[in-house]
Amino acid sequence: MIDFSYTIWILLIPLIVFVVTGLTGNRFKPIVTGIIGTAGLGVVFLLSVITAYKFFFVLDKVGGAFQRLLAFNHTWLHLTDKLHIDIGVLLDPISVMMLIVISTVSFMVHIYSLGYMKGEKGFARFFSILSLFSFSMLGLVIATNIFQMYIFWELVGVSSFLLIGFYYEKDSAVAASKKAFIVTRFADLGFLIGILLLSYTTGTFDFITLTGPNSPAFTSGQGIMFLGMSTMTWSMLFVFMGGAGKSAMFPLHIWLPDAMEGPTPVSALIHAATMVVAGVYLVARMFPIFHHEQSALEIVAWVGGFTSLFAAVIACTQYDIKRVLAYSTMSQIGYMMLALGVSGYGGEDGLGYMASMFHLFTHAFFKALLFLGAGAIIHAVHSNYMNEMGGLRKYLPITHATFLIACLAISGIPPFAGFFSKDEILVAAFHHNKALFAMEYLVAGMTAFYMFRLYFNVFWGQEQHYHHTPHEAPVTMTIPLIILAIGSTFAGFIPFTKLVTSDSLPFESHTEWGIAIPSILIALAGIGIATMLYMKKSDTSKKIATALGGFYTAAYGKFYIDQVYLFITKKILFNYVSRPVAWFDRHIVDGTMNQFAYVTNVVSDRIKGFQSGQLQQYALVFISGVIALALLFIYLWTN
C-alpha cells in the first residue's frame, strides 16, 4: 500500500502561495511574486507527475482495474450519518489525468506569463489570482463528493471573473467579466438544483458511493415522473446545465468569446485548457448515473454535437484571432461532450468515454499552445485582428513552427495528438448515431479549414505595414511553446485505453482505418481550401462570402444569440418581471416599513412632552404611580 496522503499538498501549495502573495504583493518587486507563484506551481507539477507515476504504474490493481483511493478525507459538516460534507482528495484515473493536465498547462502558463505580462500594471495581482485559480481547479478535480466539487466550481468561477476583468480600466473587460460571471452563475443555479435533487433522492454526496456498482442513484428517484422523465433524469439534466454553463455549450456559450478580453495566458489556461473542460469532467465523473439515465445522456450528445457544428461555422467567419480560437475551443469541447453522450459503460462499449478524456488531454496541450502562440503574435504586432497581420513567419520562426504543429494537431493530421483522440471520438459516434457521426465529419473538415485560414492569414499572405518590425518573443515565452509543441506531437501515443476507461479496466483498441482515412482526407480537404483561399492574397474568399449572403452575415454576427439574450432580458424580463417586482418592492415591502416608521414618528412626536426635564414633574408621576399601586394591592389583599 502506497501512502498518497501527501497529495493534499497539491491543493495547499497554491493556496498558500495565493494567500502570501495576495497579502504581501505590494511589498516586493513584482517579479518576486511571479517567481514565487511559478515555483509553487513547479512543485505542484512535480507532485502531480509523481502521483500519476505511482498511481498508474506502482499501485496494485484490484481485479485488473485501477483503484479509487481516498487519499485524504476530512468530514467538514456532519448532517446525518449518511449525509455529510467532506473535504478530501479522491484519486482515480480521471482525476489523476486531470492533475497532470492542469499542473502542466498551469506551470507552462506561469512561465509564459513571466515574459508576457512583464511591466504590466498589476503583475503581482495577476500571479496571485493565477494561484487562486490553480488551487480551485485542482480542488475541483480531486473532489471526493459533489458538494466539494460545487464549492471549488464556484471558486474557479470567481477566479475566472477576476482574471477576465484583469484590465478593469477597460469597459469592455468589465462587461465581459460580468457577463461570464452572470451566465455561469445562472448555469450553476441548475447545478445546485441538480445536487439538491440528487442528494435528496439518494441521501449521499459521495462520488464513490454514487458512481459505484451498487449506487443508490440506480434505484431511487425512479418512481416520481415529471414531464415524462424521472427525478433522477431531471437531476442529471440540471447537473448537466451547470456543466454546460462552464463548458460554454449552446445556448450558454455566449460568455466564452467575450472572455477573451482577459490577458492571453489566462485565455490559454482557463478558457481553453482547464476551466472550460470542467463541464466535461463533471459529466465524466457522474458518468455511471448518466449512463443509467439514457435520455439525459442523449441530450448531452446532441448538445455537444450541435455546439461543435455551430461554433465551427462561426469560427470560419471571425477575424479576431482569439475569438477564432475561442469558438474552436467551444467546438472541441462539443466533441468531448458528444463522445461522452454516445458512450456505453464498461470495456469497449466505453470507447466514447475514453475518447472524450483522451481528447480532453490532447486538446489541453494543443489549444494552450495555440493560445500562447496567439499571445506571442499579439505581443509582436499589437493587434488581435488577422487582417492586420500577414507574412509573420519570417519574424517569428519559433512561434510559427509551434503554431503550425498545433494547427496540424487540432486538424487531426497524423501523427499529431489530435488525430488519435478525434479518431476515437468518430469511431464511438459511428457505432452509436450515424447522424451525429456525419455532423462530426463535417466539423472535422471545418476545423481544419478555419485553423489554416488563421494560420495562413497570420503567417503567410501579404506583409502588412507594422509600427515596428515584429520580433520573436523572449525566451520565457518560447520555452513553454516548445514544450507544449512536444506535448501536442506525442500526447497521442499515450495508450489511454490502458489507463483511463469508464470502468477503470484496460481494453485493447485498434485504429479503424475505414473511419480514420476519410477523416484525414476531409481534414486535408479543409486545409487545401484554406491554402487556395488565403495563402496568397486573393478576392476569392470575399466572393464566396458574398455568394453565401445572409448565412455568412448571420455567422459573422454569431447567429445573433447575444441579441436574442439581450432581447429576452431587456425587453421581456426587465419589462414584465423586473418592473413589477421592483414596484412590489418599492410600494408594498418598503411601503409597509415606511408606514411603521411614520406611525412611530407621529406618536413619539405627540408624547415627547412627557420628557420635560422638570425633576418634580417626574417625581409627581412616580409617586402617583406608587400610591396607585399601593391602593390596588391593599384593595386586592383585603378582599
Partner: protein, 105 residues
C-alpha cells in the same frame, strides 16, 4: 421611655413626616429645601423601623442597626448632594430646580 405609648402614635407621626417630606419635595423649588424634605422622608422611615422593632421583636436589635445605617448613608448622601448643588450653583448661579431642564427632548 415611651412605655405604654400605643404603636399607632408612632405610625401617625411617621406618616405625617413622610407626606410632609413628599409635599416639600414636590413643591419647593430650592434644591436645599428639597434635600431637607428627603431627610424628612428618611427619618420617617427610621421611626417606623425603631417602633416596629421595639413592639414586635423586643429582644432583637436589627431595626436599630438598620436605622443607624440609614443615618450614616443619609449623611453621605447629603454631602454628595450638597457638592452637586454647589457645582450647579457655580454653573448657573442659581439653585432653582425649574431652571434645570437641560435633559429634555
Amino acid at each position: 421611655m415611651f412605655e405604654g405609648v400605643p404603636i399607632h402614635w408612632f405610625l401617625v407621626l411617621s406618616t405625617l413626616m413622610f407626606f410632609i417630606g413628599i409635599y416639600g419635595f414636590l413643591v419647593r423649588k430650592n434644591l436645599i429645601t428639597m434635600l431637607m424634605s428627603i431627610e424628612l422622608i428618611l427619618n420617617s422611615v427610621c421611626i417606623n423601623f425603631v417602633a416596629f422593632n421595639k413592639i414586635l421583636y423586643p429582644g432583637h436589635l436589627e431595626g436599630m442597626f438598620f436605622t443607624l445605617f440609614i443615618i450614616a448613608v443619609a449623611a453621605a448622601e447629603a454631602s454628595v448632594a450638597i457638592a452637586i448643588i454647589i457645582n450647579i450653583y457655580r454653573r448657573l448661579v442659581n439653585i432653582d430646580v425649574e431652571k434645570m431642564d437641560e435633559m429634555k427632548y
